[in-house]
Subunit: 409 residues, 2 copies
């Protein structure tokens, strides 16, 4: 709903009204695509004069640009259609176990640039990792500046437990990091760029990406499960990413599913990760010495090899995938029972091997979900691959612009 200055109810000053209306125009363009100022006025309930003034300000701030002539009806002059600008973008950086990646996504949702850098993050000192990440961001900014583009924010995806306000990684078992100041470290290194830097959990950001641009884009109630060495969950409920009181939600990998189960790296027994983490699948599918169990080989190549064996009908591989698929469904049923999502998106290696895992997953869900018809939940495989977390970071960095267009110069 548009707010007009006359009706404006709150203690609001004119800036609040302006901000809300600028945001309304931006969101209208995002949801409905480029259109003339007359149609923007029509869609929002703003007067034509207001719509024109708002569009002009958004154009000045580099958030909107005029494009093609648009003929809206059969009569009348065609209007110039305005759309979101491709020149303003958010940056997402992911700190993975053996890589850093950066993605730039512009306001239209287009990926402008994607880079990936192989790096043994576990072996490197955290300060060296932050140096490399900052370099990656600087390169991204330099490359895109040549094309007249500019960044409005950076959100870093890190594995493990991330403290929301500070951007400190409290604990990341995959990296063996404890209390690493990712937020402060990158803010210091990138100070001269003057855009905000935030840090968030990689699985939460991957869920945000699924919601923004994945197979289940726009679904109001979405659950995301990432399969890598560990397992994490991200939830979008009622159209909002769940963060929890301190940003620590989504820790599902250590579901205690079996008191006499395998010992987990965390020291407990029978954690879900010990049943469905990538290492377990590889151990079930192949003996030690088999190349798929060689940690020196790129993980995607090893997953691809497993996939090739399964496609060729190798019985041991298929049995391993059935076992893991069943246990994946077992743990996933907990999430589906708790959250009643409309869609469960499987990401990470679960997506890459999805068609061999789905039978076990759906069988187990059917047996364990209490609501009828899985509560309406369908299972989908992520198509974002290993870029999901970085893309989610970039989208999250852009959210601020859609909420508060005045935050951009």
């Amino acid at each position: 709903m548009a707010i007009t200055a006359d009706d404006e109810p709150g203690r609001a000053d004119r800036n609040d009204v302006r901000r809300a209306n600028l945001a309304l125009v931006l969101r209208t363009l995002r949801e409905r695509g480029p259109r003339s100022r007359a149609r923007i006025a029509e869609d929002t309930g703003l007067t034509k004069a207001s719509a024109s003034s708002l569009v002009a300000e958004l154009e000045e701030r580099g958030l909107v640009r005029g494009g093609e002539l648009e003929q809206t009806g059969h009569t009348g002059r065609p209007g110039l259609a305005y759309g979101l600008s491709g020149a303003t973008y958010g940056v997402g950086v992911e700190i993975g176990v053996d890589y850093l990646s950066a993605v730039a996504v512009d306001l239209t949702g287009t990926v402008r640039l994607s880079r990936r850098l192989a790096l043994d993050v576990r072996a490197a000192a955290p300060e060296a990792v932050l140096d490399a990440a900052a370099d990656l961001v600087r390169q991204t900014v330099r490359t895109t500046a040549l094309r007249g583009c500019r960044p409005v924010g950076l959100v870093v995806a890190a594995p493990g437990v991330v403290e929301e306000g500070t951007g400190r990684v409290r604990y990341a078992s995959g990296l063996d990091w404890h209390d690493v100041e990712v937020g402060a470290g990158l803010r210091r290194r990138l100070a001269r760029h003057r855009f905000p830097v935030a840090v968030d959990n990689d699985v939460k950001l991957a869920a945000a990406a699924e919601w923004a641009c994945g197979v289940a884009a726009g679904t109001r109630d979405l659950a995301y499960l990432s399969g890598e060495a560990g397992v994490g969950a991200g939830l979008v409920l009622g159209g909002r990413l769940v963060r929890g009181a301190r940003g620590f939600s989504g820790e599902i990998g250590h579901l205690p599913l079996d008191p006499t189960g395998r010992r987990c790296a965390c020291g407990r027994r029978g954690c879900w990760e010990t049943m469905v983490g990538l290492g377990t699948l590889l151990a079930l599918a192949a003996d030690p010495g088999d190349p798929v169990r060689d940690p020196a080989t790129d993980v995607e190549a090893r997953v691809a090899e497993i996939r090739a064996r399964a496609d060729a009908g190798d019985p041991r591989t298929l049995a391993a995938l059935d076992r893991v698929g069943t246990d994946l469904g077992l743990g996933a049923s907990v999430l589906v029972n708790m959250a009643n999502p409309e869609v469960l998106v499987l990401g990470g290696y679960f997506a890459l091997l999805g068609d061999h895992l789905l039978a076990g997953v759906t069988r187990e869900l059917a047996a364990r979900v209490i609501a009828p018809d899985l509560g309406g939940c369908r299972v989908a495989l992520s198509t974002l691959g290993f870029t999901a977390a970085a893309r989610g970071g970039a989208h999250t960095a852009l959210e601020r612009v859609f909420t508060d267009p005045l935050s951009v110069d």
Copy 2:
């Protein structure tokens, strides 16, 4: 500010603005208490003329009433203070296993009336239960009408899986109900009262009550666990009750915690309910034939007897409570890891025996929650007792008024 950037974009008309401003005044009175029209104007940023006109309309609709003279400063004329009306109320009805209860809560949050009717719901035909529930509502309406009060809506709390839109109870194991049309049945029986009737899961409504008026009132991220024959969860995340895509969220009782565990009534093994349901506690604490295991005795009396034995230091009772407390913490850790709530509220029998369960709960949470310091989560015992679900229903019925005051004649 009444309308913020978060609100849905759309075509504004003057009714929308009026509605938003009426709601703003109502919420201001709820949050800050009775006050003069001048102070309402000050608090909301409305002009004095607008504030007066809005208050007059709310008074006409029976939502606000003028009361005492209020002297706001040292100078000037005192103004008449306006507050929420105690004459407009929401009704909550709970269908329990062995009782029906009704609660009327007025706009000020005061419980105007509370009734409880012993009824063996499991043994009765569903139609007879709905007859009795409708009678209970009629009595409530009649009694309060004598005092000049009127209801604006009814929300029924039912155990089990409730379909959101229709109010159909799809499945309630405690009642052995399958596809009972609670919503339609009560709407038909209460048609002449012309207020809306909704049905929701009892645990979700109890969580709503905790959020509205319980020990953790107003907490943005709240997890609620109810302990009865079964266990259910209710979540408030980011200040909103989690419903799930079809209203089926919160099914936590069948967490599969032990593949070789006890057989559950649902047919599966090792469900959390088999470890922490009330029946399990009673079986651990007493031999068959002991009065606390006599299903003919009121459940509250049996829990009180367990409490008395524990307070007296009976070793078997204390050992049973320690066992159940530990397993309660085990399952609760799943919820805390998933949702990262600021507070975990224990309800139902967990609250009544809480001080004997807490040691086990907190020990197990400390061992199993991944986030540092339990992610900031504290554990609290519900003080609402067995009225929680009905109260949550009444509060939920009132929510519509606070969102859309124009919905009331």
